[in-house]
């Protein structure tokens, strides 16, 4: 099996797994305590959580705090609902977590269009009375890198808060230093599933969604998992240390894959892009058939969450592709643990299987 779906989820880094083990202890270790208990084992667990918080914070701008959540979806919900904003402006290529939440909170939300390159250009005026603007850092389907710092400025000039979904960018690119809130997910940066975080600029007050024990400064109740926090922290520290190496690897993999799939059309900008994502289309391609012909290559036809639905991708439509074109597109995602030879083999087989379809 060759796994080429790094935007859906990335493999768990061995270092992250290792960091979790001490906190998955049985009674012989005390490595199981509730980090909110004031007794000694509880304090040790709390200390591990705080180490992890620092490690995650190191991927995010200075001058803010990290609130652990169960993942980015919860972080985005917390940011959008908790901000108290009533009117939202969100880009057309946001993840469903942002689009769906905005639609629930503000059925008349403003959708900021993207251009044919998959970039959310700055020529759209933000509607008056907008309380929160959300533009993602790196698109999950096509990998395009958005001008988020400029969007944060635009939001602030309009008197609105700026939320950045940095799920696909965190640990890979520098964070937008002037955002007000940033949502991240551990399992997209080689950490465990079940944990993410919302970064909040100092001084910004939001209301919680989950109430109870008052953990996370009252912003997110629920017992924190020292194991998941430590796994997230270790993955964040590794991503920070390897940021250049991971980016160089992605560049190399991208060039190899692009060379083999040179007759395919690239969806989204080639340059303003995280190069661990290759989203391509080929006229007349039957993607379902391609997938069933290549069962030992794991790739996708869009985001994992929407992939079961059979609907054409809202991101590709936002780029101006017709439904027909969108349905001839595939997404290849690769990264730290992808062997160059495996990627080349997979690309050659994808191209051959497409040729066998007569396209």
């Amino acid at each position: 099996m060759i796994y080429l779906d790094y935007q859906a989820t990335a493999p768990l880094a061995p270092e992250s797994r290792e960091a979790m083990l001490p906190w998955l202890g049985g009674p012989e270790t005390m490595g199981f305590a509730n980090p909110h208990s004031p007794h000694r084992p509880g304090r040790a667990a709390a200390a591990a959580v705080e180490v992890a918080r620092e490690q995650v914070a190191a991927l995010l701008p200075p001058g803010g705090r990290v609130i652990f959540t169960s993942g980015a979806t919860e972080a985005i919900n917390l940011a959008m609902a908790g901000s108290g904003a009533r009117h939202f402006a969100v880009s057309a290529i946001e993840h469903a977590a942002v689009l769906d939440t905005a639609r629930v909170l503000d059925p008349a939300m403003q959708v900021i269009p993207a251009d044919g390159e998959g970039l959310v250009h700055l020529d759209t005026a933000i509607t008056q009375a907008t309380g929160l603007v959300a533009v993602m850092q790196v698109n999950n389907e096509i990998g395009t890198v958005q001008p988020v710092e400029e969007w944060a400025e635009r939001a602030h000039a309009a008197g609105a808060l700026f939320l950045c979904d940095a799920v696909q960018g965190a640990g890979k690119l520098a964070p937008p230093g002037n955002a007000d809130m940033i949502a991240v997910s551990a399992h997209k940066l080689y950490g465990p599933k079940g944990i993410g975080a919302l970064w909040l600029r100092d001084g910004l007050e939001i209301a919680p969604l989950i109430h109870g024990g008052g953990q996370e400064q009252g912003l997110r109740s629920g017992t924190l998992s020292p194991a998941l926090c430590s796994g997230f922290g270790a993955a964040a520290a590794l991503a920070k240390a390897r940021m250049e190496a991971d980016a160089a690897l992605a560049e190399d993999l991208w060039r190899r894959a692009r060379a083999i799939l040179s007759r395919w059309t690239l969806n989204g900008s080639a340059t303003r892009r995280w190069h661990g994502n290759l989203n391509l289309r080929l006229e007349g391609l039957d993607v379902a058939r391609l997938m069933s012909d290549l069962r030992d290559i794991a790739f996708s036809a869009g985001s994992a969450c929407a992939s079961g639905s059979g609907r054409p991708s809202h991101v590709l439509r936002a780029l101006g592709l017709s439904d027909k074109e969108a349905k001839t597109s595939i997404r290849l995602g690769f990264g730290r643990y992808t062997a160059p030879g495996d990627l080349e083999d997979a690309c050659a087989r994808i191209d051959a299987a497409a040729a066998a379809q007569g396209v």
């Binding site: 270790t29 305590a33 004031p38 993942g71 599933k193 109430h211 794991a298 994992a304 969450c305």
Partner: protein, 347 residues
Amino acid sequence: MRSERTYLDHAATTPLLPAAREAWLQGTDIWANPSSPHAPGRAARAALEEARARVKAAVGWEGEVVFTSGASEALALAIGRSKMPLAAVSGVEHDSVLRLAGDAVRLDVDMGGRVASGNAAHAGLVAVQQVNSETGVVQDLVSIAEAVRSAGGVLLADCAQGAGKCALPDADLIAVSAHKFGGPIGIGALLVRDWNLLHPTGGQERGYRPGTENLPGALAMAAALEAGRDWLTEAARLRVLLEQAITGAGGEVVAAGAERLPVISSYRMPRKPANVQLIRFDAMGIAVSAGSACSSGSLKTSHVLQAMNYPHPAEVIRVSIGRETTEAQIDRFAAAWKEIAGAGVKA
């Protein structure tokens, strides 16, 4: 930290069971996204559905199971997405419920911490916990469910402390947390009698809980539930010994006359503030708590004891027994209790 420490705070969290740890580790090898349609994604989906079926079988639940990050989220989901608005909550609920209760009716409890079922008859969502996290008092949910349903209401039972330790009640919505019964922290579930009780949110979990699923957590939760609850017989015996020692040394059992889960109890040490007791026990290598873990850092007066009109809430600590608790540990605790209590009693 070594095992000579005596951990009697299992209601805050209890050690991960070896079978749960094993399941968790195996789950980390199935790391694909369960929503991905490719082969590894489908394998992850199959494992997730297997975990769900095993959870249902282990607790004997025939309705739906929505995996969440824990009980707090499950309760927020139940209350936030219920089609029926929250009409009434008991005064001894966890803060996860009380903080969302708004102007819902507060159901009084008696001095034993129990809700009178007649008071629970409301034609809306009614939240009454199964087992109190501080006193271990078990509510009569059979009668309460009957009263709620005859009034046309829906019963939400917070079973965070009871699940895995006693049979689930016949409620319509049930919140559970894995780390209270030997599963990992970070996973729980909302059990739903019928999808029709909730407004969907879209996304994963049949559209009731968006976000990539925590598969290792779900597998470990199932394994922990399957470990069974035979150990409660021994726990009940240990508690009898514990309470004989405490009452023999001048201590008092809170809600002694009520039905209590044999593993969670609150005790009063007369004239000794709870924070002083905690510091002394901690220094002697014994982990206990004052009220729930979430509020114990704050040393606020327990709202549970206040709701019961308990006269000395500031002198009460919680002791909770787990699967691994031994008679030697109970003896050690009893000896420490006598020492701390004796030091404070002026002859």
